[in-house]
Symmetry: D2
Subunit: 265 residues, 4 copies
């Protein structure tokens, strides 16, 4: 079981709520994914009780909400958004996202650490989205973040685990859960992240933009589960050379010459 | 459902029987894998009804046997082995393997095509193990092979899908099932092969050499299933740029300046 | 120095003549490349002494011609083309290309071996273009080919060394020169092939389709040379861990505490 | 020509001075590399005019010195080291390195930015060694750094350009020179970095730990030069499909059927 800030999760697949064609499709996909933690942007909650209110159905499903500060360009905006989210969603959990760059949405390490430190002091359970930077992850852990969320590749790019070697270092050194976030485009990427020893993955675009989001959500559920199981079971060594699975047989030496003309009959 | 030579398979994971620590572990792993087709080397059947007889328990489990010609160095030896296997296992199904090189066990394209052509004429259902060579796969299909089995990387190396781009071409062009064989070291490799559109994968070393072969067999079962489902559901586009899953919010512009001193409180 | 069939080459960069915007650009690029062996398709020689006659200027530059059988779909067509080329170009050197597939131009291993065997008997110096298949390369060597030309990726795709691990095996096992052909898109690909121990590379599209073919030809000349030199000099070990180049200093322990308030002044 | 802080460099290969077997070998390799900027750790200068004094011979060669703060674990230590270096080497140029982690020597983004800001104010020309983090690079540029030095892979690992996609983003967005530092293990890595548009590369381990450092230094000199030239000349498009360099010939249709029996004679 995965525990973050004293909360235990049965599923290691976390999901997002963006980019779905309809709210119903999103809810169906979330149910299919088995996710127990779901991130959503503040804007999606209409302050006037509008049609986009996701809170009630998600809460009804027993899904824990993880508001994110997407859109914040610095610590101040992120902290403001966090406090807004706390009131709206009635939760102190927060996915901290600060990305000043509108093209690649790369996170800002400096503002993220600054905001994280303050938000932890304000009582938030902070899960920061960051570059796959081992030292930064360590510092976020030191200021009290409950997990770290290094990126695999740019958000929404479906490019997969471009940062594989650095995530391995982060996993090796972290004392809080490591959740691979952003860029996971295929179930095999999720499986690979879990095989490496990640504690969880967060997937959004790959599910939401599939032609069949519900089926794809099921695929990711399985992919995460089997990657985690494989990590626990222990993966085999990689070798530069072949190792025969079928032992070289003696039957040929013994029999083949005697009956060799049988071969072509 | 996958159909090879009029035989239908519910599972797209095929397994091998080599390298297991004991026969019982092997049987448990095969059950856990859900495999309905299992390859085994001829030598493993003791002609004098010895202790290594796998045939009875496998058959009892309803598993179809796929004898392989591992150890054969040319067409003549392979054909001889095939005929021996046919008598012993009472099946005309055959995994055709011809690898003259003892270090990397790379298959011989020339002898494989020659043997395949003759074995098809002799009534065998031939599944040839080959390099990920699109033209060779096409020619094997033309002489009547029932499937093609291109390699991902050297047998037993656990190096994964080194031949990814060529397997994609083979899948695009083939009219018979494409079974990715050899080198699949992690469940994520199996998932990736199925996402690309492979019809099945054959796994042996990665399961047999795991510390927990039964668990690993379950992982591969799931990995193959979810990769296939993801292929059917349709994978998202890969992009060089980020695509925000959380729409950039307007809340900041509206509210943040007015309350910006709230941010750091 | 590289020797193929008793002919010695000062340059390990071989070039092609296709896709250039003009004959003059091609000649300038070939001179800049330093290539001493250049491949060209039979059709490029106009039998009626037309405008596309490349033979005279190339020969004048001291460049050896390597006619290729591009367009041949089987051994018979290739042998016919070879004999035509022999008359036209007055050379028994031949780049043997047989690719029945018009989309990916993947070579046919069976027809290539068949044609190679006959052409060697007919007195040709045969350099076959093949998939990066170690066993096939070995067999081509056995029938008397003077070199093998495994592909890096599909012709003209500029995808680079997709077959890296298999080319390494071919280099390890070959007793004739290994020339990496097809797919080399960047100078760094050529350098990488030479670092692995390839004897030469053949480049065409990457030079011809550059905006500045002459400059690009010079780049490839250098890239091949430095890759080869690096191979001879011996490359360093790859490690999973950092190894400090600047020894960890003692100055900090000694001095920093005493003067630590100096730091921020 | 490359300009950093009003200083112009004829060579885009920067070198290090660590790990060489002897001072003489190091000097010979530096000369062979053509480097005009060379980094060295403070400790290498013996304050008592000891045997390891590199300063005089390097200066004599016209090589500009770039002292580095290797060993510093935070901004305070780095600033102290910088000031020490300024006195010893009589230069305000500085390679800023802060890596608290002794295993992977990953740089600290927070302390690096903090130190950079202060050092710029103190009049240093600051070239910071950082993770390949586009936002961090942008912020370092904003506080007045004269270049950024993103890592390819862990220092001394020879793993090459693991951060390729992120370095591409950094290059796209930077207004100061981008120098790829750390992990470059082979000349082909250096070429590839330059092809992507890097302004320079810094190489140390790959040269110093080669069996033939002087030859390897020459290789890197060429590799950097040809990668830069190729970038300027314009690289060709990468395609998923083959593009024939030798136009499919008509000669076969015309002549082959008439003379097809000639083929096998």
């Amino acid at each position: 079981m995965l525990t973050i800030a004293n909360h235990t999760f049965g599923s290691r697949l976390f999901s997002g709520t963006g980019k779905f064609s309809s709210t119903q499709t999103m809810l169906d996909a979330l149910i299919a994914s088995g996710s127990e933690l779901v991130t959503l942007a503040i804007k999606r909650i209409d302050k006037e009780q509008g049609t986009d209110n996701l809170m009630a159905p998600l809460t009804k499903l027993g899904i824990k909400l993880l508001p994110n500060t997407s859109g914040a360009r610095n610590a101040e905006e992120a902290i403001f958004a966090a406090q807004l989210a706390q009131q709206m969603f009635n939760t102190n959990w927060l996915k901290l996202e600060i990305h000043p760059d509108p093209k690649y949405l790369m996170p800002d390490p400096i503002e993220t650490l600054k905001a994280a430190e303050q938000l932890v002091k304000l009582g938030f359970v902070v899960l920061p989205y960051v570059h796959a930077d081992p030292v930064l992850c360590h510092r976020l852990e030191e200021v009290g973040c409950s997990a770290v969320m290094p990126l695999g590749s740019p958000i929404g790019s479906n490019q997969g685990l471009l940062t594989r070697e650095f995530i391995e270092i982060i996993i090796e050194q972290a004392n809080v859960p490591v959740i691979v976030d952003a860029g996971i485009g295929r179930p095999s990427d999720a499986t690979a992240a879990m095989e490496m020893g990640a504690d969880a993955v967060l997937v959004n675009t790959a599910i939401a933009s599939s032609k069949h989001p519900v089926t794809m959500a099921q695929c990711f559920k399985q992919a995460v589960h089997c990657g985690h199981q494989a990590h626990l079971a222990g993966l085999g060594q990689v070798s530069n050379q072949a190792h025969n699975t079928s032992p070289l047989t003696g039957f040929l030496q013994a029999d083949c010459s005697a009956q060799s003309n049988m071969g072509t009959n």
